[in-house]
């Protein structure tokens, strides 16, 4: 239905024309989902925007053809293209919160799309809008139509976006990372919805994603993009059984999971070449484990592996290849003695102030009484959906936020009662690594100054030369060239910046590092590098990690223990095997079932959760989870369950096990 042939897109930057998409061709049939897979900067989104002819002002389509049915889209005048957009072809974007206009009601925004594709009387239009909302699973559509975007949750907004996309009954839906910004349980709902709508309407879907789990769940055929080129096109089964291109293989082997616990993850050395510096031959040659001389001279042609499975690669070997992971030697040494971190009944409440006098009318109970212990040299993963208070807990442990109640003992010292001066002395013991590597480094300081910051503040008397030597040593420990110490953060890629942040935290030799989703902003191959680094640092220095994340692959690979958080409280806690394999709490079970696995088989039945996470300002009475729990009992509505424990230290807060 949608036929893309040899599309080339260039961006003009600083007077230079840089080719971002170089000769991409594929088809999307009616009722089929074609997934464009690749890391950031590979030209996936540029391809989608070129198909919609929505490139930004400095982007230009250099050539090629995009046919929707019989119609050549690239030759249409803009006024005709406007009818196609939203009418025959619609697009949904990654970030639902910025895709809706915050000052218009939902009804006005959907109505706008409806009006573009047919004249309806007012009552009829409203009826159709309610129908559309019902179609995307919003039941009380009549009420929602008069609400503003801020009144809806992220998942709800994405549903509204899909409803808007469906308003023109499109033949092809382009979904650009539609679930990347959403939590796993919501992601499962949205993907279900898309599958259902596709089956009902026979829509073609062009799905753009970097997530192999989403691909495994949704795609019929997959196109792998690398540096502006398609390098492999394969049906789903063939792709997951035997990916042919070394890049696709590397993507698979870079994924962390339980099976690779004892080894290092495979990484792809180097990074995607910049737009201006494409190598002449195969663009993957510099990072390819199977590189041959011919790769550097000649760009490979399409080669058929089997029916419908084509690849652009000179290398003809199978997918086997030696496992690249060296034995990493998991740190299983039983750790005895005092835990490095002991948190008990930690509470962080933020007051809600209203009125002229700013009187406190309530509290947002972001963290509402959590307790756990973390032995030295071990990793505890704190998992949960967004808004459950994970990050707040991490910052409160470091005393970056005022603690309302409870105790935090770091290496035997109670932190909550210390004066600022006494606290400073304890700062050395615990450090933090942040999620966004672009916001965590001061852009005005050199790398050496950034890394030396902790030493300056805590290291006592050190000469400039000593500090410089220490910085160079740290940079080498995190795998960076010491020559980079005089440069500024903007000259580094995301992964390298995260290494700098790790070096900064390591500089004061902490016993505990709180990692706040340190890999969620990174590509899979870079994530593998950072995880390897964190693991080897733990083995070398015996650092304990409190690892805040929502990525269960990372949890399986790195964590020794897992704590699951829901609405400010821990619902389940235990060793990684206990929690992930023998989950007891219904919430943990639902969360785990919603996690997408990047494999053909293995996706069990997803446990659907009703509704959304309630507001922490006004948690439900009784068990916080009872409104969404399929196994809720009368007692769940009355009181919060006690924590029960088994001998192995597996604790759960649920009436089912009381």
């Amino acid at each position: 239905m949608l036929t893309v042939r040899d599309v080339r897109v260039a961006y003009t930057l600083g007077g230079l024309e840089l080719t971002a998409v170089d000769g991409v061709s594929f088809d999307v049939a009616a009722g089929e989902t074609f997934a464009l897979l690749g890391e950031s900067g590979c030209g996936k989104s540029a391809t989608a925007l070129a198909i919609m002819r929505l490139l930004p002002a400095n982007g230009r389509i250099l050539g090629g053809s995009v046919c929707l049915g019989e119609e050549e889209l690239l030759a249409l005048p803009e006024c005709a293209m406007r009818r196609v957009r939203g009418g025959r072809m619609a697009m949904i974007f990654q970030e639902p919160s910025t895709s809706l206009n915050p000052v218009l009601t939902i009804g006005v925004q959907i109505g706008e799309v409806l009006a573009q594709h047919g004249e309806f009387p007012k009552a009829e239009a409203r009826r159709r809008m309610i129908e559309l909302l019902a179609l995307v699973g919003i039941s009380d559509g009549a009420r929602r139509l008069d609400e503003f975007p801020y009144q809806l949750s992220g998942g709800m907004k994405q549903r509204v976006m899909i409803a808007m996309a469906l308003a023109g009954t499109p033949e092809v839906l382009i979904a650009d990372e539609p679930t990347t910004a959403l939590d796993v349980t919501v992601q499962a709902q949205i993907l279900d919805l898309m599958t259902k709508l596709q089956a009902e309407r026979g829509m073609g879907i062009l799905l753009i994603t970097h997530d192999l789990g989403v691909v495994a769940r949704m795609a019929h055929r997959i196109g792998v993009m690398y540096a502006g080129e398609l390098v492999e096109i394969a049906p789903r089964r063939e792709f997951f059984e035997a990916p042919a291109h070394p890049y696709a293989q590397a993507l698979f082997s870079a994924l962390p999971d339980a099976m690779r616990r004892d080894e290092e993850l495979c990484t792809i050395p180097g990074q995607v070449p910049g737009l201006g510096e494409m190598p002449p031959g195969c663009r993957f040659a510099d990072r390819c484990p199977h590189v041959m001389p011919v790769c550097r001279e000649q760009s490979p042609d399409w080669r058929t592996v089997e029916n419908g499975h084509v690849v652009r690669c000179h290398w003809q070997g199978g997918s086997a290849g030696e496992p690249c992971g060296k034995k990493g030697g998991d740190n299983q040494a039983a750790v005895s003695g005092e835990p490095i971190l002991a948190v008990s009944d930690l509470k962080v409440h933020f007051p809600i102030r209203r009125g002229i006098l700013q009187s406190t009318v309530g509290h947002v109970k972001a963290v509402d009484g959590i307790s756990f212990e973390l032995p030295a040299g071990r990793t505890l993963a704190l998992v949960g959906e967004s808004g459950c208070g994970k990050t707040t807990a991490g910052k409160a442990i470091l005393q970056l936020l005022p603690v309302t109640a409870g105790s935090v003992r770091l290496a035997g010292t109670e932190l909550t009662s210390l004066s600022p001066r006494q606290l400073r002395a304890q700062r050395r013991l615990a450090q933090m690594i942040f999620q966004d590597p672009f916001a965590s480094l001061n852009p005005r300081l050199r790398v050496s100054e950034i890394v030396a910051e902790g030493m300056r503040a805590l290291g006592g008397k050190m000469s400039t030369v000593e500090r410089q030597v220490a910085v160079v040593e740290l940079l080498q420990q995190v795998g960076l060239d010491a020559a980079g110490s005089g440069r500024y953060p903007h000259e580094f890629s995301g992964g390298q910046r995260q290494r700098i942040a790790i070096a900064r935290a390591l500089a004061v030799r902490p016993g505990l590092i709180i990692c706040d989703e340190p890999t969620s902003a990174l590509d899979v191959s870079v994530q593998a590098q950072i995880l390897n680094l964190l693991k080897s640092l733990q083995n070398d220095f015996g650092v304990a990690y409190l690892f805040i994340t929502h990525n269960f692959g990372v949890v399986e690979y790195l964590a020794h223990e897992v704590a699951v958080m829901y609405l400010g409280r821990l619902v389940e806690c235990g060793s990684v095997d206990d929690v992930l394999r023998r989950a007891k709490h219904p919430y943990t079970q639902a969360l785990l079932s919603a996690v997408l696995v990047p494999r053909l088989e293995g996706q069990g039945e997803v446990i659907r959760l009703q509704g959304e996470i309630p507001s922490p300002a006004n948690p439900p009475a009784g068990c916080h989870f009872h409104q969404r729990c399929a196994q809720a009992m009368p007692v769940c509505r009355q009181r919060y369950p006690e924590v029960t424990a088994t001998e192995s230290g597996h604790t759960v807060a649920c009436h089912l096990y009381a």
Partner: protein, 467 residues
């Protein structure tokens, strides 16, 4: 010595500003991100053209900021006596234009006054006619019709001279560039014109060409004529325009010395610490910005005027008195204009406070002072620079408005505002006296336009939202 150096307060401040700008430039050269941002301005044609114009204005103002009192012929042996008049180097350069006073108004390039007078002729008869000027066009003698031809010939000479000067300048620049880049002069003749990276020297050269083509003929012509006419007391308008430049620059720059510390201190403290400190500072600037600015300025200036009038013994000369009033005006302008920048900085500091690198610094136990100076201040400097450059032109314009209202600079001090204020009455005359107003407006327009263009380029280079 046959002169005594007089250092006015505003002179000191202007030179201090120059020194700090030079110091800042040195800092910029050593810090790479700053160098990159200022490099963007250097690479912009618009920016370099505007900067060239501004530099010319600044040079005029600096020349006008070196004051002295000439020594009077000794009355008696012993202590030297100095005159009450204070002159600047610019006055020395413009001695001709300053001293050749006519009786009253005369139009540009006129040979006669603008008003009829009774003239006693050689034979004793009195006629009522336009008298000849004492200085304008006297070299023509009786051939008064020859003004156009004579002026044209002089202008041609001026253009030729300007062209020669410009070629000399361009050659010197090329040679300097060639020497710095280690090329032969022949190779490097092209780069200034074709350079895509580095500084936009071509824009500088073109602007210089324009300035020279305008200024050199003007200079030559003003030896024989009053090119911009004369005002009510017969003073050359060209001289007044040039003297006004310094006043405009002082008004445009010195208030920032008051604004910046206040806005930075209050804005960063309010944004970074929040809480009751934030409340107090917010109330302070909300109150201040809800008083009409003109009213506040008028009240303050009038009070200062009273103080000045009651203490005549404080001042050795009229210039010093006018200077104090100018400073007072700058001070009060600064006091009323810090609220906008403060509000911006407060918002930015609130945003930065939550950023991960500030959190990381707090996790290291870095103190508040350390965080403010190392992490917050450098990351708000772009806002400060943008607002200072953009504020310049609005301050220059507000001086004109205030002087027009009568609460601006001292009436004895030449400024664009006083020129416009004086010209106001003359607009009612028949025939109208237009040149004074036009000259003041045109030169202020050029100054403000250059400042605005430069501000535009600075904004583009520093604003993180523009890519």
């Amino acid at each position: 010595m046959n002169f005594q150096i007089v250092l006015l307060w505003s002179d000191a401040l202007l030179w201090l500003l120059l020194v700090s700008v030079l110091g800042f430039a040195g800092l910029v050269l050593r810090s790479e991100p700053l160098r990159a941002a200022w490099g963007k301005i250097g690479a912009s044609r618009k920016g370099m053209a505007a900067a060239t114009l501004l530099v010319v204005f600044v040079l005029i103002a600096l020349l006008d900021s070196l004051h002295y009192r000439p020594r009077l012929p000794d009355m008696a042996e012993g202590r030297p006596v100095y005159g009450v008049e204070v002159y600047s180097l610019l006055d020395v350069v413009l001695t001709q234009a300053r001293t050749r006073l006519e009786k009253t108004y005369s139009a540009p390039f006129a040979t006669r006054l603008y008003a009829k007078e009774n003239i006693e002729q050689a034979d004793g008869r009195r006629v009522r006619d336009y008298p000849r000027l004492k200085h304008g066009g006297t070299h023509l003698g009786d051939a008064e019709d020859g003004v156009a031809a004579d002026a044209f010939v002089t202008a041609l000479k001026g253009w030729a001279l300007a062209l020669a000067l410009w070629i000399l300048l361009a050659a010197a620049l090329t040679a300097a560039l060639a020497w710095r880049r280690g090329m032969t002069v022949r190779d490097s003749w092209r780069p200034p014109w074709r350079c895509r990276d580095g500084l936009a020297w071509d824009a500088v050269l073109w602007t210089l060409a324009l300035i020279l083509l305008l200024a050199v003929p003007l200079a030559l012509l003003s030896a024989d004529y009053h090119v911009f006419g004369t005002d009510k007391v017969g003073q050359s308008v060209l001289y007044q325009v040039l003297k006004s430049v310094r006043t405009a620059l002082v008004i445009g720059l010195v208030p920032t010395l008051v604004t910046l510390p206040l806005a930075l201190l209050f804005g960063l403290l309010a944004g970074y610490f929040g809480g009751w400190l934030d409340d107090v500072i917010q109330y302070l600037y909300t109150v201040l910005s809800s008083i009409p600015g003109v009213l506040l300025i008028a009240a303050a200036v009038l009070m200062i005027q009273v103080v000045i009038d009651t203490h005549p013994d404080w001042f050795a000369s009229a210039v010093e008195r006018a200077d104090l009033r100018l400073l007072a005006l700058c001070f009060i302008l600064g006091l009323t204009s810090w609220t906008g920048l403060c509000r911006l900085l407060r918002g930015e500091a609130m945003k930065l406070r939550e950023l991960d690198y500030v959190q990381a610094a707090r996790a290291f136990g870095v103190g508040h002072t350390g965080i403010l100076t190392r992490h917050v201040l450098p990351n708000v400097m772009h806002i400060v620079i943008i607002s200072v450059v953009m504020g310049f032109s609005s301050l220059v314009l507000s001086e004109a408005v205030l002087s027009y209202v009568g609460v601006g600079v001292d009436p004895n001090m030449t400024s664009f505002g006083t020129m416009i204020n004086n010209a106001r009455l003359e607009l009612g005359r028949e025939p109208v006296v237009w040149w004074s107003l036009l000259a003041a407006m045109a030169s202020m327009f050029i100054l403000v336009l250059a400042a605005n263009l430069f501000a535009d380029v600075v904004r583009d280079a520093f604003d993180p939202r523009t890519v």
